[in-house]
Symmetry: C2
Subunit: 363 residues, 2 copies
């Protein structure tokens, strides 16, 4: 196995960062007064332990006091595990995914796992290249933001019994582990807020893909309109391509503002769409909320500096990412566990960006 | 070799994303009317080609028209290369590094390389874990934002003849490939701008590490003060820990503003420090540039929404990242090439955030 081969070639002690004397099983055995085998047995967490609970606790306590760190390479050899997770996000330059990556990494580190990232750029073939490379290099499992058309790749993981958790987006056609938010519900609430604050002609700027989370956001938007007696106008929904966000958002806003009856409000389906949209509205000197009401998805440093506090959908990024790590690692440890599907509630944070022209009662 | 073994186990054609019939050497040979060997010879770019330039061009043209994609696995087996780069950044949730990651990825993709990321969280032991994992899994080379104390890890790469390029930061104690900016010079220009616009008491908020790029930014700041007859006051330089950015920046600003003689201006040494600092100044109702002048490092969506257009150091992120990829891949192809060191010029972009209290001639 490569891990062992290369490690032997690399004499421990040559590099100063390896020199720190580590606590060994022997140190713990000496301190407690038992055999090395007993210490090893307790710390490797064998079931039906032959050691008394009392002794077991004592050994664990001493191991902790001496800051015992199990040797990862030896552990790898024994378990066939690498204690490494592959994380495939859609676009690492998007702060939303960069934050997920960071939280996944922090949570994995707590559980003694390393995370290796790849970014699919929303392209199925790129995602496949990354999955293939990391599969061949023995990551123990994957956390994946699936791109459009990647269903077969997930099938490939299933076929090879590789644990994985989908995050942010699920693939409705298959029963996999996933942690997502209830996109339909929170989109409904977001648009309801726009209606409640006096807006009637409400545009939405979304992505033009067929991914379920995007469909759900659109269906929430349409149902909110419908349930409040507003008949949806096809020209209100603008679909933007991933590859042309700036141009698409600008064209969409131009259409929404310059139609025979301009819209009162815009619901942006993601942070990236909102950032581009707000920049363009600034350029056009369209003011929020005086000229137009806005609700968007996600928060970020950019929005913190925006002149008008925005009403936005706050996704539970920490819970979502931590859950994904925990589900994955539990299934790496025990592949027979049943699949877990979590749909978390997102929160609508009320700012000052909704203020309909139709009501005296401004927000 | 794992790549081959696993790929054999995976029957090509089973998954629809593999089913697309690919152009083979045979297809090209048939189209051009030459042997498969000739096509192979030309497309594998053998030096001193035995094929005429004319024929060579024709084969390449047809290969392009037929959208020929060389088989990566076969190429790997033949060359011992995986066509994969490991990129270690300091913090993937920092937009500066996330952007570098994205550009590295795009440039590598053009050259037919896949990028796998890891984030060191500015910790040498984490960086070492990532390098070790990726080394053992045969990445062809590394692009690394070195964290403090990682000099020995770089030595390890040298000892194992693994090509690598340092980016954003260099390690002055060793002669390695690197692509950085001239931090001293642009910091000098930034502080000179503050002085030229009428500021005398100029604070700096930096990180408390000993990394060369941070030292250079501080030395540029100090030299600008010195060359303009301003004697540096120790209390003007605030050093913040990576692990406590928010608290550190706030404490630093409190000190700078509440001393016996408050400062006129602040130079923020990174984007993260600036974002935290500007948020805190907002909270304190200290207005830019009326109450205080500001110059910061880097741009970003956050600054685009800030009420006052900022004067900032614009790093040539695209050039820096693309150069790093090109240098690395050229050395993967030919390890005997000499090391390359690039120090790029950064640009000071003039906004409206510098306006000294001491001059009538406001910016």
């Amino acid at each position: 196995m490569q891990v062992a081969a290369n490690s032997t070639a690399n004499p421990i002690g040559k590099y100063s960062f390896m020199k720190k004397k580590k606590t060994s099983l022997k140190d713990i055995a000496k301190e407690v007064g038992v055999s090395i085998a007993t210490v090893s047995y307790v710390l490797s967490k064998g079931a039906n332990s032959r050691v008394s609970v009392e002794m077991s606790e004592k050994i664990k306590k001493v191991a902790k006091e001496l800051n015992y760190q199990p040797n990862q390479i030896a552990k790898s050899l024994k378990s066939g595990k690498t204690h490494t997770i592959g994380l495939i996000v859609a676009d690492i330059s998007n702060p939303f995914f960069a934050h997920i990556a960071r939280i996944v990494e922090d949570e994995a580190a707590k559980l003694d796992y390393t995370v290796i990232f790849g970014s699919s750029d929303e392209k199925a073939d790129k995602s496949w290249g990354l999955i293939k490379f990391l599969m061949n290099r023995q990551v123990d499992g994957f956390i994946i933001v699936p791109s459009e058309g990647s269903n077969d790749q997930i099938q490939y993981l299933e076929d090879h019994n590789k644990p994985y958790v989908l995050i942010d987006r699920r693939l409705p056609e298959r029963e996999s582990n996933y942690v997502v938010i209830d996109n339909h519900e929170v989109a409904y609430q977001a648009v309801k807020r726009l209606i409640d604050t006096g807006n009637e002609r409400i545009g939405m700027i979304a992505y033009s893909n067929g991914l379920q989370h995007m469909r759900d956001r659109v269906s929430g938007y349409r149902m909110a309109l419908q349930n409040h007696g507003i008949s949806f106008d096809n020209s209100w929904l603008k679909a933007v391509n991933f590859d042309q966000v700036k141009e698409g958002v600008r064209a969409g806003i131009d259409d929404l503002l310059n139609g025979p009856k301009p819209i009162d409000a815009i619901f942006f389906a993601t942070n990236t769409l909102a950032v581009e949209g707000l920049k363009y509205l600034d350029k056009l000197n369209v003011r929020v909320p005086d000229d137009i009401s806005i609700v968007c998805f996600d928060q970020g440093d950019a929005f913190d500096f925006y002149y008008c506090p925005l009403t936005y959908v706050k996704q539970p990024l920490v819970t979502m990412s931590e859950e994904a790590v925990r589900i994955l690692i539990s299934q790496i440890d025990d592949p027979s566990l049943p699949k877990v599907q979590k749909s978390l509630q997102a929160e609508l944070v009320i700012g000052k960006s909704c203020s309909g022209r139709l009501m005296a009662d401004k927000n």
